[in-house]
């Protein structure tokens, strides 16, 4: 890796994003709108005694899930464009290293996700009185980590798509199983054993558990830190796999 090249690449990706005002608007507005929808969906639901309200439970998880899904989609299309427009081929004839490009995407979209997560969290906490035992800062940190996981998986999956049609099809393949099995719909310890086993190898399960830990405990717990480490490991693994798909030479 070359820090000046990594910095130039990160800034270049952020500049591209800045020129695309509509995408920026969508990144900023959509999570808040969806949280509003959730709030009114659950506003009439009774809260079980001694447990968080349904909105609190689901909104907290969604603060991590939205950035994951959105950044997965944005990244897989952005990287596919690099591959199909010829810019990737040109980049590979320059001193740029593969990791400069991958980390550039990770950092640039991670920063965008940090902004997005801060706005979504502000909406959830200030407008809809989201109640978590732990701090909102930890929630935002985990949300950004989830976004970076989405970026890393998007970088990897874009290698298997030749067109944008194919790239968006990876969303249901990669994202929806993780969403179904992460403990949002059915608690993970209530699932059949084999489903639990599948859930145990999906990184989003740990991201959701980390958020639930923040929701239930005033101080960061060991489980939360372990979950954060697992998600971080999954990010590194996905980036290594993505680097393996970026060959300087191709057929």
């Amino acid at each position: 890796m070359h820090p000046p090249i990594l910095l130039a690449t990160t800034l270049r990706i952020l500049r591209q994003l800045r020129h695309d005002r509509r995408t920026v608007a969508l990144l900023v507005v959509v999570p808040g709108v969806l949280l509003t929808l959730l709030y009114f969906m659950f506003s009439g639901q009774p809260t079980p005694p001694g447990r968080p309200s349904t909105f609190d439970r689901i909104a907290l998880i969604m603060l991590g899930v939205f950035p994951f899904i959105i950044m997965f989609l944005v990244t897989s299309i952005a990287m596919l464009r690099e591959r199909t427009s010829g810019t990737l081929e040109r980049l590979l004839t320059t001193p740029l290293g593969r990791l400069d490009l991958l980390f550039g995407y990770g950092i640039a979209f991670g920063l965008a996700a940090a902004g997005q997560a801060a706005i979504s969290a502000a909406v959830a906490y200030l407008l809809f009185d989201l109640d978590t035992a732990g701090s909102s800062g930890l929630v935002i940190m985990i949300a950004v980590l989830d976004a970076v996981l989405g970026v890393a998986l998007g970088l990897f999956c874009s290698a298997f798509a030749r067109t944008e049609f194919q790239a968006v099809q990876f969303m249901p393949v990669v994202v929806i199983p993780q969403l179904l099995l992460c403990g949002l719909f059915v608690a993970r310890d209530e699932m059949a054993g084999w489903l639990q086993a599948v859930s145990d190898v999906l990184p989003l399960s740990y991201a959701v558990e980390a958020l639930q830990e923040v929701g239930a405990h005033p101080e960061p717990t060991g489980t939360m830190w372990r979950d954060v480490a697992v998600v971080g490991g999954a990010v590194v693994l996905a980036l290594v796999l993505a680097a393996a798909t970026l060959r300087r030479r191709s057929g």
């Binding site: 000046p4 090249i5 130039a8 690449t9 270049r12 500049r15 591209q16 020129h19 695309d20 427009s85 010829g86 810019t87 081929e89 040109r90 980049l91 590979l92 004839t93 320059t94 001193p95 740029l96 300087r248 030479r249 191709s250 057929g251």
Partner: protein
């Protein structure tokens, strides 16, 4: 004179199809060498092998004394891909500054190359809003950053108006005069006469490696287009069953617009 590029017995297969069948050629330093041939003849594949992004089956490609694709070469060559490979959602200047940063160059160098391709007035414009010709010049600017010793240009003059095309060729010769080596592909035959040397490629085989005058002398005709037709026919007599009736793919029949199909 020392060669900037040495290609020996280069065989390349893309998928199951063999694209280059043992090409051997050389490009001398400080020249403008034209790589000419019909669309689909293997020009882009040969250029990709020279810049080191093409998987090769066998043979060797030596660039500036090193194996093609080796890391130190990445600071010494500029590559223009056939499709303009610049970011449509950045301005011309932002593109140039990014590619300059990759070569360790500052914004002054970026501004210089933008001016050099005649886009100074459009520097603040998004590439996506440019005309096709302007877009390909924006891409060309990025290939000239840092005054590379070797510049590989895949069809740089497509879509340019005749005045600009003449200016670009004059610029290529200025660069060569200053010691830069340029390998320029084209399927437009009237550009062949503008080159110091010609490599003519057809169906993945090299059928001429000579100066324009040398080609004229060999074939006995002054028109290079006609000369190449003769070379094709001469090579075709020993061909392995390629279609020769003028209807098959890649047959170099002349068109009224001066291109070869």
């Amino acid at each position: 004179m020392e060669n900037a590029i040495d290609v020996r017995d280069l065989v390349v297969a893309r998928g199951r199809r063999r694209v280059l069948h043992g090409v051997t050629c050389a490009v001398r330093r400080g020249t403008v060498t034209g790589l000419l041939g019909p669309s689909g003849s293997g020009k882009t594949t040969l250029m990709r092998a020279v810049v080191g992004v093409q998987t090769v089956t066998s043979g060797t490609v030596t660039v500036l004394g090193r194996p093609a694709g080796s890391a130190p070469l990445r600071r010494r060559l500029g590559y223009l891909t056939q499709a303009p490979s610049v970011y449509a959602d950045l301005t011309v200047r932002e593109n140039a500054r990014y590619f300059a940063a990759l070569q360790g160059q500052g914004s002054a160098e970026a501004d210089r190359v933008v001016a050099e391709v005649g886009l100074a007035a459009a520097a603040g414009q998004l590439v996506g809003t440019l005309s096709g010709g302007q877009r390909s010049r924006a891409s060309l600017a990025c290939a000239l950053i840092g005054r590379p010793e070797l510049v590989i240009l895949d069809e740089p003059t497509v879509g340019q108006d005749p005045v600009l095309r003449a200016e670009l060729w004059a610029r290529f010769h200025e660069l060569a005069g200053a010691g830069t080596t340029l390998l320029v592909s084209s399927h437009v035959m009237d550009e062949a006469a503008r080159c110091d040397r010609l490599l003519f490629i057809r169906d993945g085989r090299l059928i001429a490696d000579d100066t324009p005058d040398g080609v004229r002398a060999t074939t006995g005709v002054t028109d290079l287009e006609e000369a190449f037709l003769r070379l094709i026919r001469a090579a075709g007599s020993g061909d392995r069953g390629a279609p020769r009736d003028g209807t098959g793919p890649g047959v170099g029949g002349p068109r009224p617009d001066g291109t070869v199909a």
